[in-house]
């Protein structure tokens, strides 16, 4: 697993209070990990802070699973 993927996983575990085993690439924040709309906004903000990127709202809407977050950040992280 890449360093980015590890960090993403750690943020999700911390913010959503879920078990490590639940954080699979396919896991959806809202459907599988119990996030509501505010949790999702908070996650995106944490990703922005941790990876020093700015994620525009229209792209944030497409980040709904763990895997989508990892690939977006692998592509955009500085």
């Amino acid at each position: 697993m890449s360093e980015i993927a590890e960090k993403v996983k750690a943020i999700i575990i911390d913010k959503l209070g879920v078990e490590e085993s639940e954080v699979t690439p396919e896991a959806s924040f809202t459907n599988d990990l119990g996030a509501d709309s505010l949790d999702t906004v908070e996650l995106i903000m944490e990703f922005e802070k941790e990876f020093n990127v700015s994620i525009p709202d229209d792209q944030a809407e497409n980040i709904a699973t763990v895997g989508q977050a990892v690939s977006y950040l692998e592509e955009h992280a500085k």
Binding site: K15, L16, G17, G34, L38, V41, E42, M45, E48, K49
Partner: protein
């Protein structure tokens, strides 16, 4: 229309003296001080370095980590105390109509720590706004009532009253009124506050409102003592279940006491100073006696606002002597803030509980830390100094007054089957 009777059927408390109602009451009647050096932040540069904190509070004893992170401490306190009261009242699903059970809570300030942290984060950044999406719903005072209703599914009237240190008493009076008007069967009421933060202590210090007796925190809250030098900030929550009498009887609920009156008034004088003659305090006690339809002579105990500030204590006592005349000498008067500190918007809740327990057990909790008489007070008055007193308490009055000149008072009466 005939007003319905309202009784108290459940209590909950998370206080500087203990984290349940029995622990709290035990601390009160044994004259325990809840004051100690501040642990919630480094207060070494503050004029006041002590407070009455809730001891040993660990959110993980009550909430899962994710849930706790989204709630300011004042909301956590609210939910913990409300849960206790709901359990104590045995309000189990199926014994009530959830559409007719409300939550009317009180908080003077709301999520002060949340507000402080978010503003500090912004100020420390480069000007890019990175406010947490939970900032507003964590900070707003009314979210406490929202959390309680969400947890229990109570869908009746739901809001929070804000009147500084009178907030919880306003909440209790509103609850009493809605139930006696037939608009709800039961209401979870009370209040919570968690303002022991840099902004809270610093702000009240700037007002010269707090005691600065850092060498002796446990004797700092000394209402009616000659050397009182301000109040001691407290934190915590108190919760009460008020219920329509027939509803309570029908489900076989235990009844602690009956709520018989609520009174409100304003000083219309100054933002923080009390009216020098205690005009607002005088009016609120007249109003509550009229609402309860009892004579002053029927009151046995007054749990006073008595914050231990030089001016406030004097004006309240003047008002008591005007309203009660010679009966003032027969009353027991006490300020339980001498032990709990001042819980601001939650004060009225935990003091209502102290009054209800006094009525239930016929014991008046003391005003501790009395060392030197102050000539400003008539020596014939019984302030219940230093030790609890046993006496019959058929009727107890609880006064709370808030910055802004808000005055509130409620009366509880002994309930006998």
């Amino acid at each position: 229309m005939e007003l319905k009777r309202v009784v108290v059927t459940g209590l909950g408390a998370l206080t500087p003296l203990g984290s349940t109602v029995p622990e709290y009451w035990n601390g009160l009647i044994n004259g325990v001080s809840g004051a100690a050096p501040i642990t919630r932040f480094d207060a070494s540069k503050f004029k006041t370095q002590f407070a009455c904190e809730v001891k040993g509070y660990d959110p993980e004893n009550y909430f899962d980590r994710k849930e706790a992170r989204k709630m300011d401490l004042f909301s956590q306190f609210a939910v913990v105390a409300a849960d206790q009261a709901v359990a104590d009242a045995n309000l189990v699903e199926g014994t009530y109509d959830p559409d007719r059970v409300g939550v009317i809570w009180g908080s003077g300030i709301g999520g002060l720590r949340t507000f402080q942290e978010e503003c500090v984060n912004f100020a420390n950044g480069d000007g890019t706004p990175r406010f947490n999406p939970f900032f507003i719903p964590k900070m707003i005072a009314d979210i406490s009532a929202g959390h309680i209703s969400i947890k229990h599914g109570f869908r009746g009237p739901n809001f929070v009253t804000v009147s500084a240190c009178a907030s919880a008493t306003n909440a209790i009076i509103d609850s009493f009124n809605y139930i006696r008007l037939g608009m709800a069967d039961a209401i979870v009421t009370g209040g919570s506050e968690a303002a022991v933060t840099e902004a809270g202590i610093g702000g009240f210090n700037a007002l010269k409102a707090l005691s600065e007796r850092n060498d002796s925190p446990e004797t700092a809250s000394r209402p009616f003592d000659k050397d009182r030098d301000g109040f001691v900030l407290g934190e915590g929550a108190g919760a009460l279940i008020l219920e329509e009498y027939e509803h309570a009887k029908a489900r076989g609920a235990k009844i602690y006491a009956e709520v018989i009156g609520g009174g409100m008034s304003a000083d219309a004088y100054h933002i923080t100073a009390p009216h020098p003659e205690g005009l607002g305090a005088l009016n609120v006690m007249k109003n509550v006696l009229r609402d309860a339809n009892i004579k002053p002579e029927e009151v046995d105990y007054i749990n006073v606002h008595g914050t231990s500030t030089p001016l406030g204590d004097i004006s309240e006592v003047k008002a008591i002597q005007t309203v009660f005349g010679d009966h003032a000498y027969n009353l027991n008067i006490s300020s339980t803030k001498s032990m709990t500190g001042h819980l601001l918007g939650a004060a009225g809740a935990i003091e209502a509980i102290a009054s209800i327990m006094a009525v239930r057990h016929n014991i008046v909790p003391p005003t501790i830390n009395h060392f030197t008489d102050d000539d400003s007070f008539d020596a014939r008055l019984n302030f219940t100094f230093n030790k609890a007193q046993e006496r019959e308490v058929k009727v107890a009055m609880s006064n709370t007054f808030g910055f802004g000149g808000h005055n509130t008072s409620v009366i509880f009466r002994q309930y006998n089957d």
